[in-house]
């Protein structure tokens, strides 16, 4: 007996070193898994920040424009050749540039938006004609990228001449980076330096407004009915199974529903925030219902019993006592659902919100796009400058998501109650 028990402990002792080694390895593996996912997270944010931060600035060039009366002769002011004015201003800086190809390359350094800027100025103040004026106009996207150091001189996007011209402008302090207003005030554009996210922001706003206006009352109503009033029978079971399944249906399927039902049967206009909002409503509804039911469940039965005890009806109990106590939890769930809807893009591709839309939408029926779809569209564009814009738009989207989720967390903290 004695002999064998000594043997057992020996066996245990012998294996102990190996077992501890396995234990340490397992532990390290767990830590590595967490580290890996956090590294991925960091990589994601660093790459987006690194690519996008420079979009705060836009390279501008100073032009001394002479509003030559010759250009405005015999034409309506709105359709004068403003490009000629821009070219003239550039030529006055580089008088020794000649030849068609050279001149074209010179004028290619300024964004095509410069002519529109001049037009706006003249439309506002006709007195400018015949006078000289100094203004800063956006540079072309390649110049912008080069000036920000994102495009090496060896890339071949800019010619030798253009590089020397940029140097010349730099010496004369006629080129500088300034705050990129266009990014926040303009709609989409084919030219990176003229494109902005305002249209997408408005589209997202209108779409989310529809989603919120429909899904919140419907979601709260459903949650209240299922949690407080519904009899336990097959029908309510069916509803519950349906809600749980809808929460896991791929979002693109909702897009197919929107296309076949809302667009083709109901005649909702294509690309409109109305259609997008309806599709996103169906998607967010399960989230709100599930969160709402959890919030109602968290209200202790004693509240209900007390209300019923003093003679309130069941409806009064729920509407006057239970619902107000559950509302913060429901709002938290709704904000999280809205945040998800804000980041959603796949179903919106189906209902035509991917169109190239320059105008800023001003209503629920105007064709528009939303922020994540704008990101998708820009990510597809070949221009190097759009990488920067895409990252910047992503930063704006992430900022909104952080704010919304922060609000949800704050709401939960503030109204969280231990019963």
């Amino acid at each position: 007996m004695n002999k064998s028990s000594v043997k057992t402990i020996d066996i245990v002792q012998k294996g102990l070193k190996r077992r501890y080694r396995v234990e340490r390895r397992f532990r390290r593996l767990g830590l590595a898994a967490i580290a890996a996912s956090l590294i991925f997270l960091m990589l994601l944010f660093v790459s987006i920040l690194g690519n996008g931060y420079s979009a705060i600035w836009q390279t501008h060039m100073r032009l001394d424009v002479y509003f030559d009366p010759q250009v405005f002769k015999d034409v309506v002011v709105s359709s004068a050749d403003y490009g000629r004015l821009v070219k003239g201003a550039l030529r006055s800086v580089f008088p020794d540039v000649s030849g068609r190809g050279e001149l074209r390359k010179l004028s290619a350094m300024v964004s095509s938006g410069a002519a529109f800027q001049l037009r706006e100025m003249v439309m506002e103040d006709r007195g400018l004609i015949g006078r000289q004026s100094t203004l800063w106009v956006p540079a072309d996207d390649d110049v912008d990228m080069f000036f920000k150091g994102r495009l090496g001189p060896e890339s071949g996007r800019l010619t030798e001449d253009q590089l020397s011209w940029i140097d010349h402008l730099k010496e004369r302090k006629m080129i500088r980076k300034q705050f990129n207003r266009a990014f926040f005030t303009a709609g989409d554009s084919r030219e990176p330096e003229l494109s902005g996210i305002r249209g997408a922001l408005y589209g997202s706003f209108f779409t989310l407004l529809i989603t919120l206006a429909i899904s919140f009352p419907l979601g709260v109503g459903t949650a209240v009915y299922l949690q407080e009033f519904a009899p336990r029978n097959r029908w309510t079971d069916l509803i519950e199974v349906n809600i749980n399944n809808l929460a896991a249906v791929p979002s693109i399927v909702f897009g197919l529903l929107g296309l076949a039902l809302f667009l083709n049967v109901f005649g909702v206009p294509r690309s409109a925030p109305l259609a997008g909002g309806l599709v996103l409503t169906l998607m967010t509804l399960p989230t709100i219902v599930i969160a709402g039911r959890a919030a109602l469940q968290a209200v202790p039965p004693s509240i209900r019993e007390a209300a019923l005890g003093v003679g309130a009806s069941r409806m009064q109990t729920v509407l006057h006592h239970v619902l107000p106590l559950a509302l913060p939890g429901m709002l938290t769930g709704t904000i999280i659902g809205m945040a998800r809807a804000l980041g959603e893009s796949a179903p919106l591709l189906m209902i035509g919100m991917v169109a190239f839309i320059v105008d800023i939408p001003h209503g629920f029926q105007d064709p528009s796009t939303v922020l994540p779809v704008q990101i998708y569209l820009w990510a597809d564009s070949p221009e190097r400058a759009f990488v920067e814009r895409t990252s910047a738009a992503t930063m704006v989207l992430l900022a909104f998501l952080v704010i919304m989720n922060g609000l949800a967390v704050w709401l939960r903290r503030k109204f969280e109650r231990r019963w």
């Binding site: 501890y20 396995v22 234990e23 397992f26 532990r27 767990g30 830590l31 898994a33 967490i34 890996a36 996912s37 997270l41 994601l44 790459s47 987006i48 690519n51 009352p217 109503g221 459903t222 009915y225 009033f229 309510t236 069916l238 509803i239 349906n242 809600i243 749980n244 399944n245 809808l246 896991a248 249906v249 791929p250 693109i252 399927v253 197919l256 529903l257 076949a260 039902l261 169906l282 509804l285 009806s313 409806m315 945040a339 804000l342 980041g343 959603e344 893009s345 796949a346 591709l349 189906m350 991917v354 994540p372 779809v373 990101i375 998708y376 990510a379 990488v387 992503t394 989207l397 998501l401």
Partner: protein, 463 residues
């Protein structure tokens, strides 16, 4: 001109008036403010009852009218047009209607309009005006008569509170049916278009065909266009990418969950868990951008240094990034499942002298396995239905391959490419997207139902 907005505002005014009249009438029926206790319910309820009866039937009529009047007006306009138009195909007629609506929307800004179109537009506008006026009259009459009837019925004994509560409860019940209608809507809309697709392409061809190139079928005179709709390569691509994603997310997610629930201290858990959940909150389009911008080039250049032939839109890049996206999903579900295992099982293992990792491997994981499998199934259905990452990082060509360095395509990518852009609703090309959507819906539904069933059974086991 009467617009739907004006009708809604008028209706709101009617309901408010109804509320005040109801309250006043009930107070009068009681015999004055001081004798309100004689009423069955508080005056508010009489007001609410009147307002609800004023509003609800009218709103129902309003929405039904809005739903049908577009079609009716369109039909009337078409029937007024010259006879040869009536015999056109439905798609042409809808185009024509679009033109007419455009003319109306841009009144005056277009200079040269076909006079026939202009006339049709005016007719359309005229009919719409008639429809709106008729709607206004109907709704006002309905609302007004409801007001009169309810008001005349108000007396001391009317159980107004019970009526109002009954109506509200009915409304709540109607809200809860939306989920069922959504599912029915999905099934019907997807199934209907799919059936039209299967009239052109046999089901067996679609399910077992080995060649997928829907672009070929645009030409109507093409020989053997049905051969281009074999969905097997598309499924294979979906499975390949989802498989890579699972290879990334299941080990990492599971190990992270084990560490967080069994090893980590309170502070570490409080910091690391929310950080990992940020990964779940990042929109998928951002992952897609990340995959296309950073991951795909890195993998490609790595492959080139190793002497491998890597496509620029390799399945590996899309799968890897999708895996990262799913990590928090797997980890939070596994965390729940491991935490659901009773403490007594852990204590039993420790008291026998097992180390922590041995407890995890031999006690916790076997005990939590059904729950974890359910969670993984949910994650698989997530991966199959994920769209933006693959649209941005995976390719369009359907290759039947298991090589992760090659380009493959997925179900969701095909749906997006088939449906984005101009659509013709009678070509098999467009309808194929719905057939793919139907399959996607069925597969994810089956996975979800199994997973939810497994998870629920597992939870009940330890309760």
């Amino acid at each position: 001109m009467i617009t739907p907005g004006i009708i809604m505002i008028a209706l709101l005014l009617m309901a408010t008036t109804g509320y005040y009249l109801g309250v006043r009438r009930s107070v009068a029926a009681a015999g004055g403010r001081r004798l309100i206790r004689n009423l069955h319910s508080r005056p508010t309820y009489y007001g609410l009852l009147t307002a609800l009866w004023c509003g609800l039937p009218a709103v129902t009529v309003f929405s039904l009218w809005q739903f049908f009047d577009t079609q009716v007006v369109a039909h009337l306009v078409i029937s007024q047009l010259p006879a040869e138009i009536e015999n056109l195909e439905p798609s042409h007629i809808s185009l024509l209607l679009n033109d007419i609506r455009n003319v109306i929307a841009r009144q005056g800004s277009l200079e040269r309009i076909d006079p026939a179109l202009q006339a049709a537009a005016e007719h359309y506008l005229h009919l719409q005006r008639i429809s709106n006026t008729a709607l206004f009259v109907t709704i006002m009459a309905l609302s007004m008569s409801a007001l009169v009837v309810v008001r005349s019925r108000i007396n001391k004994g009317l159980r107004a509170r019970n009526h109002v509560e009954g109506i509200v409860k009915g409304l709540l019940a109607v809200c809860s049916t939306i989920a069922v209608f959504t599912t029915i809507g999905i099934v019907i809309s997807v199934l209907y278009e799919s059936l039209r697709f299967f009239q052109a392409v046999p089901v067996t061809e679609f399910l077992f065909g080995l060649k997928w190139s829907p672009q070929m079928a645009i030409r109507s005179d093409q020989v053997g266009s049905s051969g281009a709709f074999g969905a097997v390569p598309v499924f294979a691509g979906t499975l390949l990418i989802s498989g890579i994603a699972m290879c990334v997310s299941v080990p990492i997610g599971l190990m992270a969950a084990i560490y967080l629930s069994e090893y980590a201290g309170k502070t570490f858990r409080a910091i690391a868990k929310p950080l990992m959940e940020i990964l779940a909150g990042v929109p998928t389009v951002v992952y897609g951008f990340f995959a296309a911008l950073v991951v795909a080039p890195v993998i490609r250049s790595l492959g080139v240094t190793l002497g491998l032939d890597v496509a620029s839109e390799s399945a590996l890049a899309a799968g890897l990034v999708m895996g990262i996206m799913i990590i928090p999903f797997v980890s939070s579900l596994s965390d729940d499942m491991i935490n659901a295992v009773p403490q007594s099982l852990r204590d039993g293992a420790y008291s026998l002298g097992a180390t922590r990792s041995e407890t995890v491997k031999h006690v916790l994981l076997p005990a939590a396995l059904p729950g974890i499998v359910g969670g993984v199934l949910l994650a698989v259905s997530r991966a199959i239905g994920e769209t933006m990452i693959v649209v941005m990082a995976a390719g369009l060509t359907a290759n039947l391959t298991l090589n992760p360095f090659k380009t493959v395509t997925t179900v969701t990518v095909q749906i997006v490419t088939l449906l984005v852009g101009d659509q013709e609703f009678d070509s098999p090309k467009t309808l194929a997207a719905f057939a793919l959507g139907l399959l996607l819906f069925v597969v994810t539904l089956v996975l979800n139902v199994i997973a939810l069933y497994v998870v629920r059974r597992y939870r009940e086991q330890y309760e």
